[in-house]
Amino acid sequence: MQIQDFFRYTFNGIRAQRLRSFLTALGIAVGIGAVVLLTSLGEGLHHFVLGEFTQFGTNLIAINPGKITTHGVSGALLSNVRPLTLEDSASLKQLPQILDVVSVVQGNGAIEAGTHQRRATIYGVDASAARVWKFGVAAGRFLPDDPPRSARSFVVLGSKVRKELFGNNQALGERIRIGGELFRVIGSMKSKGQMLGFDLDDAVYIPAAKAMALFNRESLMEIDLLHSAGSSSSAVAEKVKKALQARHGKEDFTITTQEKMLEILGGVLNTLTIAVGALGGISLLVGGVGILTIMSITVNERTGEIGLLRAMGVERNQILVLFLGEAVILAAIGGLAGLVIGVCGSWLFSLIVPALPAHISWVYVASAELLAAFVGLLAGVLPARRAAGLHPVEALRAE
């Protein structure tokens, strides 16, 4: 049988029962549509969350005091832990492949400008913070590269703090009070938005040493390292670990590479995408049952035709292929309609919720269509086998 005749014959069978075929294909269409839409949302979420994390750059390594072990108490709570210091920070900067180092101290405090007051997050950082975290300066400049221990009392305002304290007035050069101490405003930042609930705009940035004094701390809360793009995170992390171990005498700190974090996060999000895809798969399963039902009915109705085909010299296997083909084509048509539903649905979703854009992954789309055909194949096997197994004499008698 010529391939075009095969299609003509099976399509004809499908067309002969328009409404029934339409409803059956619809079942598959809904299933595929759900798979495509849900995986698109999953992928969208994936991109969104990873975007949130990578907005600080991807070649980051964070060092926190205390060794996190799988058992026992965090080392940070033990008194013999040597805290991270500005000197540690300075020494790490000498390592090869390390481009920048940010010493971080963080806390909350009241910020006063004239009669306005606001409580906001206070970040004690280095001049390098804007580069490492990829912050944009809206006006003025970021903190100057002063020697860490004798940094001047300058402050850079997050966009929200600037707006709340100064409104439309000029902020540059103004003096504000942070925790009772005077700082001169030398710049304000562009809006960076929220990052998983932390409002980075509702914050001020002052030199790390000033923040340590302000919060009455001896040590840093974190050191962030930016390494060169070409070098591997884990290799650099290993060097950092050795260098810091040499200074501290033992490993009383935790190194987290951005790469590792993204890897774990990516894994979690992928699982999520697959899980929601599987939810859609359930409706696909229902669609498959629909095909099974309809094909069984079709075989019953066409028993006489099957007998005729056998009498005309059609082999058992050809009968099998004809009916399998019909099931697969029916499912594939439904699958295509489902792709259209899914793609339009995610496009609509992107219009309605632009913050969380659905991301259509064509790999998922292609596999969804293959899946539809496969479901058709599976659903078709039973009825097609029954058709092929019919005795020609019995089948001919059916009409």
Partner: protein, 222 residues
């Protein structure tokens, strides 16, 4: 050339064994015109099914044109049916969703002939059976006689050596029945072996040879 030797066919119906064919032997030369007659349940349809390779005998041998077809596997039997045997049924067995044209073309299509080659052959057949203006009609738009003519056109489109007709006029009025028989007899004159199963004595009498079956045996053959 047909040669049946000692054909037995037993069906299991519930607990009972029904002997549909008992030690049936017969030969037929090419171009013969045979009517198989007998009361219902006499085994005439069973014999036709064996002759048409739709059913296998429990024992005995069947030779068709020098080949022991009873020994062949399903695939090879299908090939023989395709090329050597044409069936005409009482209830026509046309595919209701296909036009007369496609119904006639079906055997060619299933055997893999290209559309362009089919076109001419089917058109010729349509004209020969007086169906030229019915090509695009579906079976439900045709009269009984026209339907059976489509069925005969389909049965002969592969140029078989044998036509097996099971009560070909059983579902037709008298005039249409005569018309159909005349068509079959015309085909027989073109050296196609014609075997008709019927319980209509009038139709049986037209054949040059009548085989009477009773209770699974050939009772009379003349």
């Amino acid at each position: 050339m047909i040669n049946l030797q000692h054909i037995e066919r037993v069906f299991q119906v519930g607990d009972e064994e029904v002997h549909a064919l008992r030690d049936v032997s017969m030969t037929a030369t090419g171009g013969e015109y045979i009517a198989i007659m007998g009361p219902s349940g006499s085994g005439k349809s069973s014999l036709l099914n064996i002759l048409g390779l739709l059913d296998r005998p429990d024992s005995g041998s069947y030779e068709l044109d020098g080949t022991r077809v009873s020994e062949l596997d399903e695939k090879e039997q299908a090939r023989i049916r395709r090329h050597k045997i044409g069936f005409v049924f009482q209830f026509f067995h046309l595919v209701p969703r296909l036009t007369a044209f496609v119904n006639i073309a079906l055997p060619l299509m299933l055997s893999g002939m290209k559309q362009a080659e089919r076109q001419e052959r089917v058109t010729t057949a349509l004209a020969a059976f007086g169906l030229a203006n019915r090509a695009q009609h579906r079976p439900d738009q045709l009269s009984g006689g026209q339907r059976q003519r489509v069925a005969i056109a389909r049965a002969t489109i592969m140029q078989p050596t044998v036509i097996l007709a099971d009560e070909p006029t059983g579902n037709l009025d008298r005039n249409a029945g005569i018309e159909v028989v005349e068509i079959l007899e015309e085909l027989n004159r073109q050296e196609i072996t014609l075997i008709i199963v019927t319980h209509d004595p009038e139709l049986g009498k037209r054949a040059r040879r009548q085989i009477l079956m009773v209770d699974g045996r050939i009772e009379d053959d003349r």
